[in-house]
Assembly symmetry: D2
Homo-oligomer: 306 residues x 4
């Protein structure tokens, strides 16, 4: 069974690798974060919280927001429409920001590559970026059971300013008839949702909901249908760690979604939610120390799905 | 708990879809098989066998042999060398016989696309095709606990005759320095290993060994290290169903490896091995009825990994 | 020698093919043009004008504007900088609006594919779209010796509205550091320059200047250096007819630049400029009747470069 | 007018660049040639031969053989069938040995990339490699007016041994139904035709025939139809210098076909044939000194097509 001592051991193990990684370099707000932060938080079905390291340091959610927007889009327009008409569910060996496959396959391969996530973002209800983001914020606060969650304006400004590759993807999708609605409103929302501040504790709670079949165990509220929670956990396993998903499945074996802010969300079904923070990234853009901590836990407790 | 009655229900359910698929068309020996065959066999840790439908009809193993050759190659040259130098472990969104990614990424993406499987085949010890295949045959007989398993010569001849796309992959890999040794010997072995006749029962036993951490429960013999068995189950989940792997993970949630002969191997860790036969394929090349049967079982018994 | 009678014969010949083509379909202003227009105009070094067919019907210049902007950009920032840092000079087998090569080769392959032309447009001096377009208009009026040349506002509005694929290219180039300055200003200028109304006569005069080593024979004014005029004629031969350039070089053998408005510009060095108009396009987007007229003239007068 | 003195000047100019190139490295026979050889030979319509430098040093013809085999294939099966069914006439921005476009476009883009040249080789009559090569040898001896031309066995053996990338292309083409007949016989012939020894003088004569509309001026024999000679000169201009063809058209403006042995063939229609030898190659695989000599001549005599 998982005890705080084991988390400390995992933290200790993970720290040994952190120096080999580096923070995301494309905006100063991410680049200038100390790469030595490392923290892990778990919350089990009974609400027991275990923590080790930097679990209350805020960091931007980045690609983990793709999980939140996916759930919201499924709520808004249904899994059937979304996965049938808008975005696939297959992993792709290409980098997260690749555009090449769009030239032959109209639909983005999955909701976790940027092209797919932008498409999903366009499916969220809301007459403009503000309304979409307002709904997103309400929802992520519920998922994380934290009313304080809010936008990191500096990161949002930087993301927006350097987001030309994402703009290219969005206009390409618009030209192909996949992305509907106003492109700039959609992108503005996309940059905002990626720039929300969270902590490892927040991520752990969000993961807990997915681990608990879509229900917040504390309130009993159904935040997403059990069937969709399951589908999303499967997607996380096959596509959640960028083009390092296969390696992570082999070495750790958890459904997971990472972000270049250093976070990783891990829902262990019927067990717990795990939230990780460690901004030193490996070459694929995943938290290096985070992966090592999860690997440690997976092995020590034999928690791998496989 | 799984009972024969539930297998019968699954069979019944699967049969309803078979008419929508078609047998593999590229060689007469596969094309001319009746597409209405359908069968499923499970073997649990205690050796209890459950069966429904056409579980004793021989069919060619095709891509499921990639599982056997992968295990053998790991035994022969070590997982570290294999996965570090020869072949990756990442899913790819491209079709199984695609060559394009080899022009930018030297190593094949994973051992289950053809380029990867040919590379793996080249790593199996043996001075020529005959010796390699002799060792393969010995090993698959152990994995399936069936000394009768043998080559389908007609299929082998056809595969060899129509295998030019695979030849192209092999020579490309040779030119890139990935494939070592004689190309024609490697290809001859590859065509042979794909052309071995098995039954759903055989496949179930092979899967059982993977589900039992690499040990044949009957004999206690370690056929593959536990660590490798686990890695392979993870690979099956992310890459085992061609470019339909993501969809299958979502709808069924089992590690699985399919072949265009209509077979599917499914190891459910600590539970059972499943072998499926149904030569009517879907558009990705996976057994249509087979997938439906597995979906039925996954849902009825809540067996999905997710 | 070329006489008006031969132009009439060429026109007659070209008309026989027009029914097999169709007008560009992506905006109503192009789609609704009669596809039966066909005209050809030649102007020789002494200013003699020969004409047949619809040579005074205005049509939008479309991709032929890439020629004008290329000349202007060379004047503004030098051929060395342009061809060394910004855009290549190699033909590409990909369609004119393809984005795939940008993911591996930062610079667009040549100035006549859209990615290259947008890059070139960004190199034209001017603080905003209006100033850039003002300079473009001044310059094209000189090249065509026609002060009346002006913007087709309806086409510009439509181009702007449907230009998402071009927006994707522009933002991609921006993200790669190739395109400098404001993307929307650059695109606005690009859509405007493509939407200028010209006639076959205008195009003939523009071609004449290129055929006369960059000098307007009437005024003696040097509009472009002889060396650059020569380089551009070479580029037209290898890349001027989209991915039909190789076929056109073989069958006609003229340097040429086409546009989806139906125009073709042909500079025959030391001989004449030719302007063609015929909005029925072939599958590559080139004027079908136009190509046939040029083929007729090339063969009858043995004018091919080859 | 061209005089021997000018050739000497060109040679002098070209020599200044040779140290910056290097010989082809993939087989010892090419690698070990002195990179300081440089020579140029021209033959005009009256048979006048001008020479400078190393014009009688034998070197392997390599890709210039694609010109000879193309002519022979046109004679054997007709330009219509060849260019309609087997191989395109469009330049491609990809390297000469690229395979990626074959996955989407069945036909190779043009006869001068390897995939296209192998296809063309398969269209030459002959029951096996020996008969095909016998016919090739007879024909190239006529084209070069040199009965001594023969195979360089050492190069052929090396080409055959290292030709796996070409094997991959050939089997891929076979799998797509483009390449007919026995693949190994076709490849064996292909390796042989690339390994024939020629001199700059030989290449000059071959070019002269193409410059003289397909007729050997000395004998009056029609070696290829005028129409095909013209088409081939156009193809040489757009595709003859690998993915440096656009640059060469701009800087030199001659139809040309190069080989990694260091040769370049240049037919100047109604003027002369030029043969060049200089084994120091640039990064695209073209003779560096050769290009510089041709550039010098083009500029001094204003011989560019453009």
């Amino acid at each position: 069974m998982l005890k705080e001592e084991l988390l400390q051991d995992a933290l200790h193990y993970g720290k040994a690798f952190v120096h080999m990684g580096q923070t995301a370099q494309y905006i100063p707000e991410l680049k200038n974060v100390s790469k030595y932060y490392l923290g892990i938080c778990t919350i089990d079905m009974d609400g027991n919280v275990l923590e080790a390291g930097d679990t209350n340091i805020p960091f931007t959610i980045q690609s983990i927001s793709k999980l939140v927007s996916l759930i919201l889009a499924i709520r808004d327009c249904g899994a059937d429409h979304l996965f049938h008409d808008k975005v696939g569910v297959e992993p792709t060996g290409d980098p997260f920001n690749s555009i090449v496959k769009l030239e032959t396959k109209t639909r983005p391969f999955n909701p976790f590559i940027n092209a797919g996530a932008i498409t999903v973002a366009s499916c969220i209800s809301g007459k403009d970026s503000d309304e979409k983001f307002g709904r997103f914020l309400d929802f992520i606060r519920k998922l994380c059971r934290n009313e304080e969650i809010s936008l990191n304006t500096a990161v949002y400004e930087s993301e927006k300013q350097t987001g030309d590759r994402n703009r290219a993807l969005a206009y390409y999708l618009k030209a192909s008839g996949i992305l509907e609605g106003d492109v700039e409103e959609c992108l503005d929302f996309y940059f905002k949702m990626c720039s929300v501040n969270v902590t490892a504790h927040d991520i752990a709670h969000m993961s807990l909901v997915l681990a608990n079949h879509g229900v917040d165990p504390a309130s009993g509220e159904i935040l997403i249908e059990a069937k969709s929670a399951k589908a999303i956990r499967a997607l996380m396993l096959t596509c959640g760690m960028y083009d390092g998903s296969g390696e992570f499945a082999m070495s750790v074996g958890f459904p997971a979604k990472s972000g270049v802010g250093g976070g990783i969300a891990v829902p262990l079904v019927n067990h717990m939610g795990i939230g990780v923070f460690g901004p030193a990234l490996d070459s694929k853009g995943n938290s290096l120390g985070g992966i090592k901590m999860l690997e440690y836990i997976s092995k020590r407790l034999d928690y791998s799905l496989f």
